[in-house]
Every structure is written in structure tokens, then in C-alpha cells.
């Protein structure tokens, strides 16, 4: 039997925001399932508890110290939504979609919890040029370190960037800015470590690279397939780098002014794998 409210959640849908408001996200469905799970603390806690292990109603009563009527009602509501099931031995168990929903909810909670790490950095910069699909993936930087200019070390982010890039061998970059300093350090790394550079940039930046002192070197590295270059007409304002040593992100103050005073810095194998994955995703989408 289906409770009328949960039946609505499963069948009615109902778009309450038209997609035009949120560029890039189409077919915006209702928020009812999220509302249903989150609006009751007990329901949410029951769902997470059964995600940990299957339990009897007695065990759940003990765990939550609530009346059996309340626990039963919560369980019935979750069952109506097919998020949990009752086994013949009367144990309650999470269903496949309940399991997947909890995984996705945990992820959402992780983003909400960790947004604060990103807050200072993100509020100082413009995110307007970054499409939603890329902005969402920038959550890979939630575990990063914020490196900032200080009064005693004004160029700290840039120095740290250059120091890391010189140690790198496999470099991938999304490059919306040109700096001879960066290009010299990259060239040095490619020669020193017999490295590779995969780079996405605009025609303007490419022209500046080619016109710089390193023209011959870059052309020969491209001939030797040490540099793979992808030119795009337009790109979001993110200066992103991932190498076998570090990952980094610089943003713009607004649509035109690059900020070299703050950098998010990533390290660790797992974070760098995520960053390489972001780069591949970005490349697939934009090139």
C-alpha cells in the first residue's frame, strides 16, 4: 500500500523551476524525493542506519529511543518510496535504490560540509564563466590547500607553482592566460624530465606562446609529440594544472582580471587522479 504523499513523490514529478533559470541543467525534476528524505530527521536517520546494516524494528527502537509507532511510520514511509524493504524474517534492509540514494546523499552532504574550505577562495573570484558541469567537478579541490600571497612573500602562489611545475613530467593544463614565466618553467620541465604537455588554450594565447622566445623549442616539442595542443575558441576563466607532482587552480577576479595572489594546491595520488580525470572530462567536453 502506498501512502498518498509518497505516491505523489514517485509518480507526479512536477517542475517547479523552469529550466531557463539554471543554464545547462535541463529536465529539472521536482525536489520531492530530497524533501521527503531530508524533511524528517527520523526518516533520514533510519535510512542511514539501515544503510549500515539490516535491523529489526526492536533494534531500531533501541537505537533511536523512539516509540515503536514513530519508528513503524518512518519505516512504512521509506518502504512506500521503495528505499527499504522488509525481509521475510522481519528484518528491515536497504533496497538497491535506497543504497544508491544514500551514496548520493552522502556525497551531497560532503559538498555542503566542505564548501567552507572553498568559500573564501570562491567568494573572491568570478565563477560566472564556468559552466555548471565544470563548476560541479571543481569539488576535487575541496581537499586542497589555499596558498596566498603574504606581505613578506608576495609571489608565494606563483613561486610554489613554478617550483612544482619544474619537478613535473606529465603536465596537463587549461590555460586562459599567458606568462613567459610559466612557459619557461614548463619548457624547462619538459626538457629536463623528457616530459609531456597536454594543453588546452585559445588562439590568442597560442599566438603569444609562439611569438615568445621559446618558439623554436615549442615547435620542435610539438613535432616530437611532446606537446599536444588543443585550441578552442572560447574557454572558462580557469587556469588549471595537473601533473604527476601537483594540481592547482587559479581563478579570475572578474571576467578579465587574473588573480595570481591565491592558488588552490592539490597533492596526493588519489587527488591527482581525480584532477587528471577532471582534465580529461574538460577536454572531452570542450575540444
Amino acid at each position: 500500500m502506498c501512502h498518498w504523499k509518497t505516491l505523489f513523490i514517485l509518480t507526479e514529478g512536477g517542475i517547479i523551476i523552469s529550466e531557463e533559470f539554471f543554464e545547462g541543467i535541463c529536465d529539472l525534476a521536482d525536489f520531492n524525493l530530497l524533501k521527503f528524505v531530508v524533511s524528517s530527521e527520523l526518516r533520514l536517520r533510519l535510512l542511514f542506519s539501515l544503510y549500515e546494516s539490516s535491523k529489526s524494528i526492536k533494534e531500531l527502537e533501541g537505537e533511536f529511543n523512539r516509540k515503536s509507532g514513530n519508528i513503524s511510520r518512518g519505516l512504512n514511509e521509506l518502504m512506500s518510496c521503495k528505499l527499504i524493504e522488509r525481509l521475510p524474517n522481519k528484518l528491515y534492509v536497504i533496497s538497491s535504490i535506497g543504497f544508491l540514494l544514500v551514496k548520493n546523499l552522502e556525497n551531497l552532504m560532503f559538498y555542503f560540509d566542505n564548501i567552507n574550505y572553498f568559500e573564501e577562495f570562491s567568494e573572491n573570484h568570478s565563477l560566472r564563466s564556468i559552466p555548471n558541469k565544470f563548476l560541479k567537478e571543481l569539488s576535487i579541490f575541496y581537499g586542497s590547500t589555499l596558498v596566498e600571497s603574504t606581505i613578506t612573500e608576495f609571489a608565494k602562489p606563483i613561486n610554489m607553482y613554478l617550483e612544482n611545475i619544474r619537478k613535473s613530467t606529465y603536465i596537463c593544463m587549461i590555460l586562459p592566460v599567458f606568462s613567459k614565466l610559466f612557459m619557461d618553467a614548463i619548457a624547462e620541465a619538459l626538457i629536463e624530465h623528457d616530459g609531456y604537455l597536454d594543453i588546452i588554450t585559445t588562439k590568442n594565447i597560442y599566438d603569444l606562446i609562439i611569438k615568445s622566445d621559446n618558439e623554436k623549442l615549442f615547435r620542435s616539442l610539438m613535432r616530437d609529440k611532446k606537446i599536444n595542443l588543443y585550441i578552442v575558441e572560447d574557454m572558462p576563466n580557469i587556469f588549471f594544472t595537473v601533473t604527476d607532482v601537483f594540481g592547482s587552480l587559479f581563478l579570475f577576479y572578474d571576467d578579465v582580471v587574473f588573480d595570481n595572489s591565491q592558488m588552490l594546491l592539490l597533492d596526493g595520488e588519489s587527488n591527482l587522479n581525480d584532477a587528471y580525470r577532471f582534465y580529461r572530462f574538460f577536454k572531452n567536453e570542450i575540444v
Binding site: R45, V102, L127
Partner: protein
């Protein structure tokens, strides 16, 4: 352990979500401000809500630091933008789960890899099921996913009944194939290629690489430049040949590539079939 262990974070999460999504008018205001700042008058014109209701909700949003105002125009904080994006993508995951609830609840989902924490890319997938008048509908979809691509990656547990068409396509076309297969299926593929190569009209294959399914992955999928096809075992442990989830969305293809990458790392090394496909070297075909 889940995030619920952190009581303070949990309560803040619950409060934020409830506040953001429990009111249609608030959501519409946030939607109006998503792409650019707007005054109350501009929001009124876009939403048709009364000035006073907009003002009331704008005040609440401002008090809770979701928006700020400069010169009578209101703007989203970037943290609000990022929170909204994550809620909206979560809803795509929820929509996928809701629409395929019965199928997924019948399926064995003993999958504990990182990528399932965000299923938004699967929103818009179609569930294709065999019917009494089209018994092999799902198998045929799976078969079609194994041909007509530039690259193919995937995991599947059986030697397809139409393997002649499939493997000859791999050999005769300019494509790459990377698969995770049980040992018996790998052997069958190799033996077929050994027999087929001398009869092939013109080999163009770039490479076929196989990995053993030594992690006992009970789940099947293919991902190519064209589509993602997912198939599952039933809870009783049988491979369900009668239903597949299919998506041609670029986001789903990216999801499939990430999925393959995760499983690729779990299984043993690749075996290249280069020597079998090109017994005399690549020659002019290289």
C-alpha cells in the same frame, strides 16, 4: 561511517536543504539570480509573485547569507551557487533512481566504487526490456553497442551468440577495444580471432586488449563513443539478459569511461592481441 556521525554538520545540512527547497518562491528567486543580479522589481516581472512576498523571502535569504545586495540589486554568493548546483545534480540522480526503481531493486548492486556517489549523468537513460513479442530486444541492444564505434570499453560475462559479426567488426575496422572478461570468454575471443584473421578481407584494427575479470565483477556494461549500455545480475545471481539501461548522453559516456577506469585499476594487467591480429607485423596498416 556516514556524515551523520557529525551531528552539527548534519543539522546544518538539513537546515540548509530544507530552507532552500521547501519554498517554491525562494527557489524561483534563486533561479532568477542564478545568471545575474536582479532587483525586486525585475524578480517580480520574471516570477509574477507579489512585491511583498518577494521582499519577505529576499529578506530571509539575505539573513541566512545565501544572497547579498549592492545598490538595490541582489546577487547569489558563490557558495550558494555551488550548493544549488549540487542540489540540482542530486535531483538528477534522484530522478534516475525514481524512474528505474523497480528494475534497480530487482538487480544485484554489490557495487562499491567511488563513481556511484553521483549518478546524475544517468538521468535520461532508457530502460529497454525484452517483451513477449521481442524476446531478444535487450540482447540486440547489447550487441549493437559492441559494433559501430571508434573505441569500445567494457565488462561482460558471456561470449555473445552473434560473436562472428561482432569480433569481425573489431578486426576489420579502425577501432580500439579494451575489455574486462572472464578467462573462458577471453580464450574464446582469442580463438575466434586466430581463425578469422587469415579470412579477413582487410584488417584495420588499432588494438584489442583484454583484462581478466579477476575481481569477480558481477555487473556488465559497454561504453563507446556512441553510447553507454548497462546490464545487471538479478538478486538471485543470474545475469539478466532481458533488460539494459541505455544512454547516448555525452555525460553518460563520460560516466562510463570513469566507471571503466575504476574497474580497470582493480583487475590484472592487459593482454594485447596485437601478435594474433597482425601475425606478420602491422606493415602498411600501421
Amino acid at each position: 561511517m556516514t556524515n551523520l556521525s557529525n551531528e552539527e554538520n548534519f543539522l546544518k545540512f538539513q537546515e540548509d536543504i530544507k530552507f532552500l527547497i521547501n519554498s517554491e518562491i525562494r527557489l524561483k528567486i534563486l533561479g532568477c539570480l542564478y545568471n545575474s543580479g536582479a532587483s525586486i522589481k525585475q524578480i517580480e516581472a520574471k516570477t509574477n509573485y507579489s512585491y511583498s512576498s518577494i521582499l519577505d523571502n529576499i529578506n530571509k535569504l539575505e539573513q541566512k547569507e545565501f544572497i547579498y545586495n549592492i545598490d538595490d540589486k541582489f546577487y547569489l554568493y558563490n557558495k550558494t551557487r555551488v550548493k544549488l548546483i549540487n542540489i540540482l545534480y542530486f535531483n538528477k540522480s534522484a530522478k534516475f533512481l525514481r524512474e528505474n526503481a523497480d528494475f534497480l531493486n530487482r538487480s544485484l548492486l554489490d557495487i562499491n566504487i567511488d563513481i556511484i556517489k553521483d549518478l546524475s549523468a544517468l538521468d535520461g537513460s532508457r530502460l529497454i526490456e525484452s517483451t513477449s513479442t521481442d524476446l531478444f530486444k535487450a540482447t540486440e541492444i547489447f550487441q549493437r553497442s559492441l559494433m559501430g564505434f571508434k573505441f569500445l570499453k567494457g565488462i561482460f560475462p558471456y561470449f555473445h551468440p552473434r560473436h562472428h559479426d561482432i569480433i569481425s567488426y573489431w578486426i576489420d575496422n579502425d577501432c580500439t577495444v579494451e575489455l574486462i572478461l572472464p578467462d573462458e570468454v577471453s580464450e574464446a575471443v582469442k580463438n575466434f580471432i586466430i581463425d578469422y584473421v587469415p579470412k579477413s578481407p582487410g584488417i584495420k584494427n588499432r588494438f584489442v586488449k583484454l583484462k581478466p575479470n579477476d575481481h569477480n565483477i558481477q555487473f556488465a556494461f559497454t561504453v563507446s563513443d556512441k553510447c553507454l549500455v548497462l546490464a545487471f545480475y538479478t538478486k538471485s545471481g543470474q545475469f539478466n539478459q532481458n533488460s539494459v539501461l541505455v544512454s547516448t548522453n555525452p555525460e553518460a559516456i563520460t560516466f562510463g569511461l570513469k566507471l571503466f577506469e575504476e574497474y580497470e585499476q582493480l583487475c590484472g594487467p592487459y593482454v594485447s592481441l596485437e601478435d594474433i591480429i597482425y601475425p606478420n607485423g602491422r606493415g602498411d596498416n600501421y
